[in-house]
């Protein structure tokens, strides 16, 4: 049961809501199979060979079991839940009623059946029979050569940012809050499925995200393509904090009121010489027989005088044009005809007071392209209208390659044609050709052809119709797998030649890409999720108890494991190094935590590890911290982490009735953590899963919640010994690690499954089982080097092929 199975809610039966009471069900075989160095269950059955029986036969493997435990209820016309199990006589009859027998397997493995009142098979028996059923179907599925189908995947946040970087060289933009950041920092998080955030089924688009896409497109294109208009955006003058004012208080957010004759000024820097427009929104308090007069002044010289005839309710805009040289200038507004007669209580006349209010003031530069153009601008704007090219011809020339890059496949002429109209749209608004291209690029960045990785099938709803991907689709699969980004020029060129799909070229490209700095994305995204390093940002160790923990250490922990992972990738080391690499990377804070002398400062250095305390990811502070609680270690979490992330043998979910146990008024548990957990495990229902999880976790008890070595926990000496269900004993972390290393094929299989899930963007199915086995076998021949797993995945059918949808 190491392969994900799709959940089918329409299974023939399920335990009712009554919660079946199941006793003493031990998933003890989780480790036993592999303990002897043999791959567990399914992995052993590698390739379907025609004519050879699929598995040890029905009579030997299954019939006695069903007869003993099942058919008493499940036979004849009155069969429970209308599930009849006594009709099966052979493997082929089992294969013919797949729905029923898959449910049998699941109910056995999850210990939902037989019901508690009935005699119970041992856990080993359950595992064996469920494994036999699964193996039967997996083998049958392998013969189908089903490449599977990935649901339309939208770019996730990382992929979006990286793709924008590779398209335009734009790494950061001004975010909605005004700060600089990566474009997708503004996007909501991507949901996670099967442990990764690049799974087509759970990557959805909400209106919120759509809105963010539109905003980001505007801001990205503003950075990527320069327009003559961008210089002509009005710059608001801050009159409110102006230095030289003789009177008045603030109006609005940046304006000023002048109650007496006087001038208010602000500095303005003209980027280049030309005719600038100074605009002021103003109003007056009317008094006397004149309107308030406002002088526009530049560097002290009056360039224009206006009568401000408007009142507060409807202020108006007044403008003056002036030629400025490049450089700093003083822009001023002066009130020159103040008028004031105080109120006269004797005559009962009110005060007469003329005031001038400058609500806001802007300076607008003349239109024109900036002198230094962004590199992306020069790359996109390969021609200009004029020189024999009409606007439309120039637009076509520019847009055809741009659409192809953004859609990651050759543009169709009709697609280009639809975009050409944007130069007209901009023209109608009185704006430039460049602006038209900018808007067209915005449209491209919001198109489903960019946001989704589209793979179109001739028969999209025919499950039996499978096909090889075309070269452009393959290029994108490769680049998003290894770089979390779009294909580069080399991949596009190979796709254009129609050569990429050739196995030797595909494999060579994968190896090339792994050496590229962009392969760092695998550490960020694959390792970040496989090893759960990303969750490091969420942990909050109690700093009173673990004062060495601070933000620097938090970052350092993650960096160490990422660098370690990158080293395995870049140096193409055997993946077994993950379990016991004899080197790591540390900086000052980590070296202090690990007790390594002579390393100071924030710089990371590679160090060789001696002794048996450290070596491999399991002794890295990142993993040890992410699997701890804020105030103490959690052997359960650590054990579960090892089972799930390294051995691919997640403990089965707790039986449905466990929570109810707390209804008993039992005494709180006492003693050391280990003693309390052992008390807890006396409860057979808990013991079923915790025996394995806890044993592994106890083996790591020498590491405290932030990964520091310890011999004591408070007053108690650490007991890091344990016994695995298979009977293997260990006396501490080093010996535990040796046991894990002996399960190499189980580990490699687990890693291959995770990488394959990540590469495909879907959960693995039974029909993928033998593909994974092939990958493991091939890796074994190549010393388990990282690239051998990656190239096997890239060459596998699920990666190179797809089929139609089977419908809802």
């Amino acid at each position: 049961m190491t392969i994900e199975r799709s959940t089918r809610p329409d299974t023939p039966w399920r335990p009712g809501p009554f919660g079946l009471v199941l006793a003493a069900l031990l998933p003890a075989t989780l480790l036993i199979g592999a303990a002897a160095g043999t791959p567990s269950g399914q992995a052993k059955r590698v390739k379907p060979a025609a004519g050879v029986p699929a598995a040890p036969g029905f009579e030997a493997q299954a019939a006695p079991f069903f007869k003993k435990y099942c058919v008493a209820c499940h036979s004849g016309p009155a069969a429970q839940a209308a599930v009849v199990l006594n009709r099966a006589t052979s493997s082929s009859s089992v294969l013919q009623d797949r729905k029923t027998w898959e449910a049998v397997s699941r109910n056995l493995a999850d210990r939902h059946m037989p019901p508690a009142a009935a005699p119970q098979p041992s856990d080993a028996e359950r595992q064996r029979v469920a494994g036999w059923i699964d193996g039967l179907f997996a083998k049958a599925d392998c013969k189908l050569n089903d490449p599977g189908r990935v649901t339309l995947r939208r770019l996730n946040r990382e992929e979006y940012d990286n793709t924008i970087r590779d398209l335009f060289g734009v790494e950061t933009i001004k975010l909605s809050g005004g700060q600089e950041g990566r474009p997708a920092d503004d996007f909501p998080s991507d949901d996670v499925g099967y442990g990764f955030d690049n799974i087509g089924d759970v990557l959805s688009i909400s209106p919120l995200l759509m809105e963010k896409y539109v905003n980001a497109a505007e801001r990205i294109t503003a950075r990527a393509i320069a327009t003559p208009e961008q210089g002509a955006v009005p710059v608001r003058l801050d009159l409110a904090s102006a230095l030289s004012s003789t009177a008045g208080s603030r109006v609005g957010s940046m304006g000023r009121a002048l109650a007496s004759n006087g001038e208010v000024t602000a500095e303005f820097e003209a980027k280049r010489a030309g005719e600038y427009t100074v605009t002021a929104v103003a109003y007056e308090d009317h008094a006397g027989d004149e309107f308030a007069k406002m002088d526009f002044r530049v560097d002290g010289k009056t360039i224009r005088t206006e009568e401000v005839k408007t009142r507060q309710r409807n202020p108006a805009s007044y403008a003056a044009k002036v030629d400025l040289t490049a450089g700093r200038h003083k822009i001023g507004f002066a009130f020159t005809n103040d008028f004031y007669i105080p109120a006269d209580p004797a005559k009962k006349t009110p005060a007469q007071d003329r005031n001038l209010y400058i609500f806001s003031a802007d300076v607008t530069a003349p239109a024109g392209l900036p002198e230094t153009l962004p590199a992306s601008h020069r790359r996109i704007m390969i021609c200009k209208p004029g020189d024999g090219l009409s606007d439309e011809q120039a637009a076509r020339k520019i847009l055809a390659p741009l659409v192809s890059r953004i859609y990651r496949r050759p543009a169709q002429p009709s697609e280009v044609e639809r975009l050409v109209r944007y130069v007209h749209v901009a023209g109608q608004q009185g704006e430039s050709f460049e602006r038209g291209i900018q808007i067209a690029t915005q449209a491209l960045l919001c198109s489903p052809n960019f946001l989704f990785r589209v793979e179109l099938d001739p028969k999209p709803n025919d499950k039996s119709s499978s096909r090889l991907l075309n070269d452009y689709e393959l290029a994108s699969r490769l680049s998003y797998f290894l770089w979390s980004s779009m294909p580069d020029e080399t991949l596009f060129a190979l796709a254009a030649k129609g050569a990429l799909h050739r196995p030797e070229i595909l494999a060579a490209q994968a190896r090339r890409m792994l050496k590229d700095p962009k392969a760092r994305a695998l550490a960020d995204n694959f390792a970040g999720q496989w090893l759960q390093l990303r969750n490091l940002s969420l942990v909050a160790p109690d700093v009173k108890r673990f004062p060495e923990f601070d933000e620097t250490l938090r970052r350092s922990m993650r960096t160490e494991t990422e660098m370690f992972f990158e080293a395995v990738v870049q140096e193409d080391r055997p993946v077994l190094d993950f379990l016991d690499g004899r080197f790591t990377y540390v900086n000052g804070p980590l070296a202090r935590l690990y007790g390594i002398d002579g390393i100071e400062g924030d710089q990371f250095r590679r160090v060789a590890l001696t002794g048996d305390q450290r070596g491999g990811i399991l002794s890295q502070a990142s993993i040890l911290t992410v699997t701890s609680n804020p105030t103490r270690t959690s052997p359960v979490k650590r054990g579960k982490w090892v089972l799930e992330q390294l051995l691919g043998a997640p403990p089965p979910p707790p039986p449905p009735n466990v929570p109810k146990l707390a209804d008993d008024k039992k005494e709180p548990l006492t003693g050391t953590l280990r003693q309390r957990m052992e008390q807890h495990r006396k409860d057979p229902v808990c013991a079923s899963c915790h025996t394995t999880m806890d044993a592994i976790g106890f083996g790591l008890e020498n590491f405290d919640p932030v990964g520091k070595w310890r011999a004591r926990d408070g007053d108690n000496p650490i007991d890091a010994s344990g016994t695995l269900p298979g009977g293997q004993k260990f006396a501490g972390p080093a010996q535990l690690k040796q046991i894990l290393k002996s399960k190499r094929s189980q580990f490699v299989k687990c890693l291959s499954q995770k990488l394959m899930t990540y590469a495909l963007g879907r959960g693995l199915q039974t029909y993928d089982t033998c593909k994974v086995s092939d990958i493991v076998a091939s890796a074994a021949k190549n010393d388990y080097r990282f690239s051998s797993i990656v190239t096997s995945i890239v060459l596998s059918e699920p990666f190179r092929m797809r089929r139609g949808d089977g419908g809802h």
């Binding site: 909400s206 609500f359 919001c446 008024k665 005494e667």
Partner: protein
């Protein structure tokens, strides 16, 4: 010389939120934004806490006049405006044969009343949530049909809960049965989305041009999507449908923004500056966002997940550095239960902050709180048992008048919580025959 008197802050008075309030530019006429004095709109909000509650310190011993239990002391000032509802249940958060995963189910079922399909990714499915149903039916009256807030992003990696995709435990709002609605966690981003977006220096002319372009871009991508649609398989079409819904929603908003031109009228003195380190402050800032959105009638429907279900956040600031989830599995240990209670009280302090602010905003003859129905609670009752009956639920506000408050109402245990939602939807002007597992409408509220 007398100083000129320019009226500012004339609209958003009476709310001393943490941040300085948006101030209206003096030049802007107020009418379009100011709420009608005649009839204030009715709002609906849902606030979710994870991991259950220490129930012995929550449920009042007696029915009728509300006697605040120890956990609820922070609510003393708004006692007369709230009801504690006991006995409500989310039956569909139970295992029902699906085994572990109560945290994932509790969030997914909370507002949907539906039993989420157990899957780690393929074909996720719950049901439409009460808030989204309202948003789809009456959300077009405001610029934003609904607002989704939270303090924790979705999980960054890993399996969230016993074979359930993380989409379940980190979302309570569901637009449709397979589409959860992500929440925003950064108060600054929320603020900018609701009220920002306009450069104060941008002229009306250039803004108009930008909106013209934006509409044209949306037309283009809509056409692109429609060309793509028939070429896709059914599951891919579902994804493209989400995309099309998103595009239509923005088109509508561009038009409304044009009409209201709110962005041009609000000048913001001080904006939130991002996610604060202090968790209480983070919650309160998000509360401020909800309050502002309600007050300006930018939306009438909101959800707020204080934390995702199963959250193991430590609360060191209140002396509980242990993780919340860890404590919630108290195993009957009174020390751990005390810690859960401390966390519960901390959360309620933040709720009290919001409710008091709502009460301070005058609307017509009443207050904003009078014109609100805010549900606060969890989808798990006792965190150790993971039971989904006898849920801790609090209903604040008088729902526009009519909801009698200051009471503890005990319903028969097992009463679907969706029955409460149907009543609330009625008051919002949304008639729904059923929602999730509803069996009728809750009595005794009015």
């Amino acid at each position: 010389m007398p100083e000129p008197k320019i009226g500012r802050r004339t609209l958003l008075h009476g709310v001393g939120t943490l941040m300085a309030l948006p101030a209206l530019e003096a030049m802007a006429p107020l009418g379009a934004l100011a709420q009608s004095a005649k009839k204030s709109p009715l709002r609906m909000a849902f606030m979710f806490v994870p991991n259950g509650i220490h129930m012995p310190a929550w449920t009042p011993a007696t029915e009728g006049a509300l006697d605040l239990m120890p956990s609820m002391q922070p609510l003393a000032k708004v006692r007369d405006s709230i009801n504690v509802l006991t006995g409500l249940t989310q039956h569909n958060a139970e295992a029902l044969g699906d085994g572990g995963g109560d945290h994932a189910r509790s969030a997914a079922a909370w507002l949907t009343g539906c039993h989420p399909r157990k899957t780690d990714g393929a074909e996720i499915k719950a049901g439409i949530s009460a808030d989204q149903l309202a948003a789809q039916r009456v959300g077009d009256r405001t610029r934003f049909p609904s607002l989704e807030l939270g303090c924790e992003r979705g999980a960054q990696s890993g399996n969230c809960d016993s074979g359930y995709s993380c989409a379940y435990s980190s979302n309570i709002a569901w637009r449709g049965e397979s589409t959860p609605v992500a929440h925003e966690v950064d108060p600054r981003a929320v603020f900018e989305r609701l009220f920002g977006g306009a450069d104060p220096a941008e002229t009306a002319e250039s803004r108009k041009r930008r909106e013209t372009y934006r509409k044209s871009v949306l037309d283009f991508v809509m056409e692109d999507a429609k060309r793509l649609q028939p070429k896709l398989g059914v599951h891919d079409q579902d994804k493209l449908d989400e995309y099309l819904t998103g595009v239509r929603e923005i088109e509508r908003r561009v038009e409304l923004a044009e009409r209201a031109n709110i962005a041009g009228r609000l000048a913001i003195a001080d904006r939130p500056t991002g996610v604060p380190a202090d968790f209480g402050e983070h919650i309160r800032l998000m509360c401020d966002m909800m309050l502002l959105a309600f007050q300006t009638d930018t939306t009438r429907i909101a959800t707020f997940m204080l934390a995702n279900d199963g959250s193991n956040r430590g609360y060191a600031d209140i002396g509980v550095p242990e993780g919340h989830h860890d404590c919630s599995h108290h195993g009957g240990d009174p020390v751990k239960q005390g810690k859960v209670q401390q966390i519960n009280t901390f959360h309620l302090k933040q709720v009290a902050y919001l409710l008091e602010k709502m009460q301070a905003v005058k609307e017509g003859d009443g207050t904003l709180l009078d014109n609100t129905m805010l549900v606060y609670g969890a989808g798990i009752s006792d965190g150790d048992r993971h039971n989904h009956d006898d849920l801790p639920i609090l209903l604040a506000g008088r729902g526009g008048g009519g909801i009698k408050t200051g009471r503890h109402i005990r319903y028969k245990n097992g009463t679907p919580m969706t029955n409460l939602f149907l009543c609330m939807l009625d008051r919002m002007g949304v008639h729904a025959e059923t929602l999730g597992d509803s069996t009728g409408r809750l009595d005794q509220l009015i």
